[in-house]
């Protein structure tokens, strides 16, 4: 029983991490129908901000996290305003090509600046170690992850439900034309959402270093996982991304633990099965 609970918990914590990284992609895809494959690059940016601040400037881990969020958020808006905006009405193929081109450039640029080796990180002692409850080990860092991610999810959902900006975002996702007709500045709302989503990805990337490691290929490797979560959860649906991230997190962790020879086979199979059953994702409406 002990190992089973521990695997479930690890999977859940991993899922929470995936949720942080991919929720922004889901909302921006749902709102503007913009296929932003460069989302993973912003997660990678956040992670490298944390690594640089810690290793070159001696900051503590927790102090770097807000900066990972802010830098990724601002960088994404710069790209959104210059490169992505002209492509909102373009075909998916063009969007895919442009943003995957940016991912390639980001991967190569990081390899040039930081090298291709895995980046070391030293989290503070109070986040290390683990508790043992009923024969199962719970790593402190993963508990920390779950707490942070749950707190952010609650904030997100409450913010979306009860604030003015949240109501405008929901309106823009539901029916962009109608929202424009009502005088909502959808472009500006979208820029805010984009920054928020990329910022969360940056934060998620920084938090992910300890769990999955960090090297230059991060943006490409996690791109596929992100896309799986978004398409399984349904575009524009926060609760959908939440459920999908947990499903993928647990099936990936459990798959690697119980069926190591299958590798990543399981999550691809889950994705194809869900998409064939519900093409718009679990919680998608279109």
């Amino acid at each position: 029983m002990g190992p089973f609970v521990a695997v479930m918990f690890d999977g859940f914590a991993y899922g929470m991490l995936l949720f942080l990284i991919s929720v922004g992609l889901s909302v921006t895809l749902g709102m503007m129908n913009f296929v932003n494959l460069a989302h993973g690059a912003f997660a990678m940016l956040g992670a490298y901000v944390t690594v640089t601040l810690m290793n070159s400037y001696g900051w503590t881990f927790l102090a770097t996290l807000p900066f990972a969020f802010i830098v990724a958020g601002f960088a994404s808006v710069a790209f959104e305003q210059t490169l992505f905006k002209p492509l909102y009405r373009a075909s998916e193929l063009d969007q895919v090509l442009l943003t995957i081109g940016l991912v390639f450039m980001a991967v190569a640029a990081v390899a040039y600046v930081f090298g291709t080796e895995s980046q070391p990180i030293h989290i503070p002692d109070y986040l290390r170690g683990f508790f043992t409850i009923g024969g199962a080990n719970f790593a402190v860092y993963r508990i920390f992850l779950v707490v942070v991610a749950l707190a952010i999810s609650v904030l997100l959902i409450a913010g979306l439900e009860y604030t003015r900006l949240g109501a405008q975002i929901r309106a823009a996702v539901d029916n962009q034309r109608m929202a424009r007709g009502l005088g909502i500045n959808v472009d500006r709302i979208f820029a805010y959402t984009f920054a928020l989503g990329s910022g969360l990805a940056g934060l998620g990337g920084a938090l992910a270093i300890e769990v999955v490691g960090l090297d230059h290929s991060f943006a490409l490797v996690y791109l596929i996982v992100m896309l799986i979560i978004v398409s399984v959860g349904g575009l524009g649906s926060i609760s959908g991304s939440f459920v999908a991230a947990i499903v993928i997190g647990i099936s990936d962790t459990a798959g690697k633990y119980y069926f190591p020879y299958l590798g990543a086979f399981l999550i691809y199979l889950v994705m194809i099965a869900v998409l064939m059953w519900r093409p718009a994702g679990l919680f998608g409406r279109r």
Partner: protein, 331 residues
């Protein structure tokens, strides 16, 4: 381009005008013989280019003509390569029959997956092609008893072509063989897309919901063309297995799918020659920059993609066509 220069009165004349060979096309195919004379030391590269061009042509058929965006086309390429490699390992290495066997294997996988592909559009479709490609990659990776896993397939034994022409170090046989296969398939594809079936494919690309209303069943057409494309990709894969005598997981990888997409986009989609021109430029550039760390090569590929999307929406051939129109409009 014949479509823009006045509308012929009858459908037969319209299709007939498109089928006629343009002088530039003849020049292009004659130019493919130049490596024999001028670059004999680059013949093995030339054969790689011919194979990449065939693979890009297969993607063009579904992407450029039927509008199916695929991020997992390497599935069929790898299927062809592994089939050819495995069958030769089991004791049958006759090249031409291996091509047919590999084409059938890739075509079977293509036909099976086409039922899924034909049902979906947009992002779901992209994700499904990506997922199927990744699934096959992982399957080949796990089944290392069959495929050799990450070490690649061991023990490939290809027989000489027609029992006389062995694959020489310089690549004379390899290039001649790949070029002839490419040309034959190209002519067949050219005929196909200028047929009524090809026209209805373009209709599906523009509006897949309306086509059934004028009597062209979108779903079954997509299934047919997807299977054909898989067959072509499988032949390209078998060619690479035969001419290099190596098959590795790389043949199934996402990188392979992305590469072929870049080549096609660079040349221009929906123009038959786009994939050919794109693969020549891409492969020659990669060969010239092969001293550079592959990580940095990725940067230039990325930049190229961004620039093509922003400034050359229809690739190099599309840009040339626009230049020609521009020159003609102000004499």
């Amino acid at each position: 381009m014949a479509a823009t220069s006045g509308a012929p009165a009858r459908p037969h004349e319209f299709l007939g005008a498109q089928v006629r060979w343009h002088p530039l096309e003849i020049v292009f195919w004659l130019a493919t013989l130049l490596p024999f004379v001028f670059f004999p030391s680059y013949l093995s590269l030339a054969s790689q280019i011919a194979i990449a061009a065939l693979f890009a042509l297969s993607l063009d058929l579904i992407l450029g003509y039927a509008g199916i965006v695929s991020l997992g086309h390497a599935a069929f390429f790898g299927m062809g390569a592994y089939t050819a490699g495995l069958v030769s390992k089991w004791g049958w290495g006759e090249p031409l029959s291996l091509l047919v066997i590999s084409a059938c294997a890739a075509g079977l996988v293509g036909y099976a997956t086409s039922f899924v592909i034909a049902k979906f559009r947009h992002l779901t479709l992209i994700m499904l092609t990506l997922g199927i490609g990744l699934l096959l990659y992982e399957a080949a990776n796990s089944a290392s008893w069959l495929t050799g896993g990450a070490d690649g397939l061991q023990g490939i034994a290809m027989w000489p072509l027609f029992n006389t022409f062995d694959y020489d170090l310089w690549g004379y046989t390899a290039y001649t063989y790949s070029l002839i296969v490419l040309f034959v398939i190209f002519v067949a594809t050219r005929r196909l897309i200028h047929s009524p079936f090809g026209l209805s494919l373009r209709g599906i690309r523009e509006n897949s919901v309306r086509m059934p209303a004028i009597g062209a069943p979108s779903e079954s057409h997509i299934r047919t063309v997807y299977t054909m494309s898989a067959v072509m990709a499988g032949i390209a894969g078998a060619l690479i297995a035969q001419t290099t005598s190596t098959v590795s997981l790389e043949a199934l990888s996402f990188d392979r799918s992305a590469d072929v997409l870049v080549m096609l986009i660079l040349g221009g989609t929906g123009r038959l020659y786009g994939g050919l021109v794109g693969s020549i430029i891409y492969m020659v550039a990669r060969d010239q920059f092969s001293g550079v760390n592959p990580q940095y090569w990725l940067f230039w590929i990325g930049l190229l993609l961004v620039l093509v999307v922003m400034f050359l929406p229809n690739g190099i051939l599309g840009g040339l066509a626009r230049l020609k129109l521009f020159a003609r409009s102000k004499p």
